[in-house]
Each structure stands twice: as structure tokens, then as C-alpha cells.
């Protein structure tokens, strides 16, 4: 972190690092269930599909504070899941960066699922049927045909979820509070800077950092999506 000394203050470097860490961890956490849920919503025919769809979209429509508070109730020290984690798995989510990552995962989930679901819906089931006549079982078809074809969607969804995670504020501050070096990500650091008299310069620096990060994520998303499209359909 000392390498950044010339550019960023220790506080800024810490906030940037925390944002990246919680964003990456949160997105990675939501990816496997996201793919599974997207597949179920795109292809599944089961009771409660409508309810699942609604549940997935909850964090998108609820005020983030509500989501954060619900996380606190469920995953806090006294919450049923939080308590279980603490006693049986020996780790806690409340008021540390892991909790912030969980908040990122939950808030990014709807966007991630939507993008991947759309990708699943565009895969022609007739290709999968053809693969089965060529000797591939269901799992084999999924990994050799379906997954490569939805890869652009997975990449787009992942980066979208990640971008959403970088901007996460309401749920995070409600769930894991504002602890410098532990849960104070870029947006929260910006908020804190604004609370301090004459903090505008500091705040502007956080704004600049946030913009750089967002533009970077967007560019990466575009680049990977195009590379994948090229791989599948040639130049687009």
C-alpha cells in the first residue's frame, strides 16, 4: 500500500482496497448461485418460480436500508444465521469486511441474475438436443454447449454485479456500519468526508476515484463481452 503513497492518502488507499476486496468477494460469492438461479428461471418449470423471481428482485426494489437491516437481523450476532455461523463455523459477518462483501453480493444479485438469465434464454434448446443425439448426457451438454454459449452473459452479469457492488452504500452502512479500514468502502468514505467541515476536497478525490473505478469496470465489461462475441460468432 506504500506504493500508492505518492498518489493516495493512506485512508484513500484503504477505502479503495476495501471497495475492490468486498466487490470481488461479494461478486464471486453470488456468481455460482446466480448462475443456478438464472438457469432455473430461464429453463425451469416448477412451482414457486414466480415467487423465486420476486425474491431475487427484492434487493432491487427495496430501499437498501431495509435490505441492510434485514441482513443485520438475519446475519448479526444474535440473528439466526449469524449465530449459527459464529458457533459452528467460527466466523462472524457483523461489522467487518466479510459482512460488507455479503451486502455487495445480495445487492448485486438481481442484476447478475437478470443478465445471465437473458443469456440462457437466447441459447437455442435445439442445439442442446442435437448435442444429446451426438452422445452427450445432460451435464455434458450443459458444460460443453450451454455454458460456453452463455459465457458473454455471465461475464456481463458479473461485471454489472461488481459495478453495483462498488457503489453499494445503504445496505452496507446499515448492516456493517462505517468502520475505517474494515467496512469503510469508497462511497462510505465519501459520505464521511462530507460530514467533516471543509471536507469537500477530500470528497472530490473520492468522487474521482469512484468514477475511475466505474469507467474501468465498464470498459472491462465491454471488452470481455466483445471478445466472447467474437469467439462465438466472429466479428461483430
Amino acid at each position: 500500500m506504500t506504493d500508492w503513497g505518492g498518489w493516495l492518502s493512506p485512508g484513500e488507499a484503504q477505502a479503495l482496497w476495501l471497495s475492490l476486496k468486498t466487490g470481488v468477494a461479494g461478486t464471486a460469492l453470488s456468481l455460482p448461485p446466480g448462475v443456478a438461479v438464472a438457469w432455473a428461471l430461464a429453463r425451469g418449470r416448477f412451482r414457486g418460480k414466480f415467487a423465486l423471481d420476486g425474491l431475487v428482485h427484492m434487493p432491487l426494489v427495496l430501499p437498501p436500508v431495509v435490505t441492510g437491516y434485514l441482513l443485520l437481523i438475519l446475519f448479526g450476532h444474535k440473528g439466526p444465521i449469524g449465530h449459527f455461523f459464529e458457533t459452528w463455523l467460527g466466523f462472524t459477518l457483523a461489522f467487518n469486511w466479510k459482512g460488507a462483501a455479503l451486502a455487495c453480493a445480495v445487492m448485486g444479485f438481481p442484476l447478475l441474475v437478470r443478465a445471465i438469465r437473458l443469456a440462457f434464454e437466447t441459447v437455442d434448446p435445439r442445439l442442446e438436443a442435437a448435442a444429446r443425439t451426438l452422445g452427450a448426457g445432460r451435464m455434458d451438454v450443459f458444460t460443453s454447449i450451454t455454458l460456453p454459449l452463455v459465457m458473454p452473459g455471465i461475464i456481463a452479469g458479473t461485471l454489472l454485479g461488481f459495478a453495483r457492488a462498488l457503489g453499494e452504500f445503504g445496505a452496507t452502512i446499515t448492516f456493517v456500519a462505517n468502520i475505517p479500514g474494515e467496512t469503510q468502502t469508497l462511497p462510505i468514505a465519501l459520505y464521511s468526508a462530507l460530514q467533516v467541515p471543509d471536507g469537500e476536497i477530500n470528497a472530490l478525490r473520492f468522487v474521482g476515484l469512484s468514477i475511475l473505478l466505474a469507467v474501468g469496470a465498464l470498459a472491462a465489461s465491454e471488452y470481455f463481452a466483445r471478445a466472447q462475441q467474437r469467439r462465438i460468432r466472429g466479428t461483430t
Partner: protein, 374 residues
């Protein structure tokens, strides 16, 4: 190689449609023909295991694919059924070579043909590194055929593989299909709604109509039934003139005039020279529109193919035309479509001997595509 016979029995009732078919198919090409909605594709997808049917028993040799009575359903990946679909269905993220090897990787190299042979047969050597989106429709369909062949099939299903292609692409693929037919001795079911394709490729034919088998047997025998033709072509039989399919033998070549004489049993027809040895068998299709009638042997006429016939029956075909059924020799039936007025003026009637003037012969059962002679 296996000489397994396919036996199929399917009964399925969905809203407004019921499919009820039972047939057997041995090695060679069994054509399945019928109008759209007759249940052709439903039958194939049940054989491949892509759809389940209410009641079915499907077996290839002693291997049972489906037996609903005994609760047996073998998943499609275990059936070793090569399926060529209407659309090529190539995997867009894989190269042509990877598409070809997709089945081989999963079933081992138990195919009757090696990859080199298949590539050679289908003429796709130059395409191997390409992606499917860079192929023409005809090329993609050839790759799809190759992919099915290389998956070690014991049965080949072809569901209108030519219907999505234009005439030129069809002509491009047809020779490959014929070569395939000669090269493989496994059962091939070839679905089409095009009589010419069936006549050209099939050894036997099933006519499917409204979910039932309307006729089955030897191609010429089945398709020469005028009611079978109207089943296939639809009720609009004014537009569709009846056609006769004849099996002919090359009798001799007239090298001076670049003609080949064909013996159709009791009569002879001349067509532009064919690169076939005397004795070779070809299939011809004669359209009723292409046959004119004369009550006396015409003396001075450019039409060379004139054969003696006897009127069997005259049937109305629309307000101004009639179809005259003719007997040629002991076994052949021909149809001539002429106007009402011509029939009246010539005083045509059953039993009357006439001369049939054949304006053109469509050669459908041989490599030389649609050669027409005048």
C-alpha cells in the same frame, strides 16, 4: 456391420392431433413423405428420444429404445442415432473440425467411416478451421451430416435436410446423399415433402398423412397411386398434375447423337447421354403435363419419344382438363393431362389405343440431376 432393423410403434394424442404409426425399416433409405403436419418430425424425434410419447415401442435390433408398457426409456445420448435436422444446428462456438469431432469424442471411433473418409465424401476439407457462421447453408448442412456420421450411429435420421436450402444448394448436396446411401448399410430414415427427393434417394417409402401411415412399400409402386400423390400434394390437384415414376434400364448408347436409350419394359425412351453402363438402373419421373396424345402414329414430329399405349380411364381434373390414364406394356401406367376439348375432338375413350408423345423426361434416380430430354 450391424444389420439391425428398426421397428417403431407410436401412439400419441395431443390436442387436436393424434399420431398413430407402426413400421419397420431395414438397411437402406426409407423415405417418409407427407404434407406438413402429418407427424413426420414427431416420429423422428420420438425415435431419437428427444420427445417422449404416451405410448410407444421403438427398438433397433434387440436394443429397446422405448417401451412404455415396460417403463423403458433410453436417453438419447445412449441410442447412437445420428440426426440431421432441417437447420444444420452446428455449435456456433466450435470450429467445423470441433463440431465434427463432438460425437466421436463421446462415442469413441466406432463409426463406420473415419473422419478422413467423411471429410472426403462430403467435400468439407477446406472448411475445417472455419466457424459455422462463416459457412453457406449448403456447407453447414454437409458439416451437420458429417457430424452425425462421425457419432458412430447405428441408425440415421434425416429430417428434411434439404428443405431450408435453395435449389442450387440442394443440387450441391444431393450427390453427397446418394454417395452416402451407397456407402452405408445402416437404416436411414429420410423425411421429405418433396417427391423428387424421395424418388431419387429412397429404396422404400412411407406415406404419412394426418398422423397415420397412408401407404408403404416400393417407391414407384406407392407413389404411382394417384390418390397417394394427391395426399402428398394436397387437395389442390388442379395445379399438381399426376406423375409416374418408372424404373428403367440403360439399353444402349447412341454415341453419334449423344443419346442414351432406356428400356422401360415394353417401350424405349431416348434421353441425353448418361455416363452409365448398359444395364444400369435409373428412375424416371414423367409428368402428366409433359405427355401429349395422338390417335395415329405421328409421322413428322420433333418429339422422339413416342410410345404405344391404351387408354384405361379418363378422369376430370378441373373445369377444362382431364387426366388420361394409359397402360404401357403390361405393367406401366402413365398419365397425360390434356384439355376437355382435345379429349372430345379425338373421341378418346377407355380401351382405345393411342400414342403417347413424351415431351420431356425428368431423370430423378441418378447423379445427373434432372436431365430432361426432348
Amino acid at each position: 456391420m450391424s444389420e439391425a432393423r428398426l421397428s417403431v410403434g407410436i401412439a400419441q394424442h395431443v390436442e387436436g392431433f393424434s399420431l398413430d404409426v407402426a413400421f419397420e425399416a431395414g438397411p437402406g433409405v426409407t423415405g417418409i413423405i407427407g404434407p406438413s403436419g402429418a407427424g413426420k418430425s414427431m416420429t423422428l424425434s420420438a425415435i431419437a428420444g428427444l420427445t417422449r410419447r404416451d405410448s410407444a415401442r421403438i427398438a433397433l435390433g434387440d436394443e429397446v429404445f422405448v417401451d412404455t408398457a415396460r417403463g423403458i426409456f433410453m436417453p438419447p445420448e445412449q441410442r447412437r442415432v445420428g440426426y440431421v435436422f432441417q437447420e444444420a444446428r452446428l455449435f456456433p462456438h466450435l470450429s467445423v473440425a470441433e463440431n465434427l469431432d463432438y460425437g466421436t469424442k463421446r462415442r469413441g471411433s466406432a463409426s463406420a467411416m473415419t473422419r478422413a473418409e467423411v471429410v472426403d465424401l462430403l467435400g468439407i476439407g477446406a472448411l475445417l478451421d472455419r466457424r459455422p457462421h462463416r459457412l453457406s447453408g449448403g456447407e453447414a448442412q454437409r458439416v451437420a451430416i458429417g457430424r452425425a456420421l462421425l457419432s458412430a450411429p447405428r441408425l440415421l435420421l434425416m429430417d428434411e435436410p434439404l428443405s431450408s436450402l435453395d435449389i442450387r444448394r440442394r443440387r450441391e448436396i444431393m450427390p453427397f446423399l446418394e454417395a452416402l446411401h451407397r456407402r452405408l448399410d445402416l437404416p436411414i430414415l429420410f423425411v421429405s415433402h418433396n417427391i423428387d427427393e424421395i424418388v431419387r434417394l429412397a429404396d422404400r417409402v412411407l406415406v404419412l398423412h394426418g398422423g397415420r401411415i397412408a401407404a408403404a412399400g416400393e417407391v414407384a409402386e406407392v407413389l404411382n397411386h394417384i390418390d397417394v400423390q394427391s395426399l402428398i400434394l394436397g387437395a389442390d390437384d388442379n395445379a399438381a398434375d399426376p406423375a409416374t415414376i418408372l424404373e428403367a434400364r440403360v439399353s444402349r448408347h447412341d454415341t453419334a447423337h449423344h443419346l442414351t436409350e432406356l428400356d422401360i419394359g415394353g417401350a424405349s425412351l431416348a434421353v441425353p447421354a448418361l455416363a452409365l453402363a448398359p444395364g444400369a438402373r435409373v428412375r424416371l419421373r414423367l409428368h402428366a403435363r409433359d405427355i401429349a396424345l395422338a390417335t395415329e402414329r405421328p409421322a413428322a414430329l420433333s418429339i422422339q419419344n413416342v410410345i404405344e399405349a391404351k387408354i384405361v380411364e379418363i378422369k376430370t381434373a378441373g373445369p377444362s382438363q382431364v387426366d388420361v390414364e394409359l397402360a404401357v406394356g403390361a405393367q406401366h401406367r402413365l398419365f397425360a393431362r390434356i384439355t376437355n376439348r382435345a379429349a372430345e375432338q379425338l373421341q378418346l375413350a377407355s380401351g382405345r389405343p393411342v400414342w403417347a408423345l413424351i415431351k420431356s423426361v425428368a431423370l430423378v434416380g441418378d447423379l445427373s440431376d434432372g436431365a430432361r430430354a426432348t
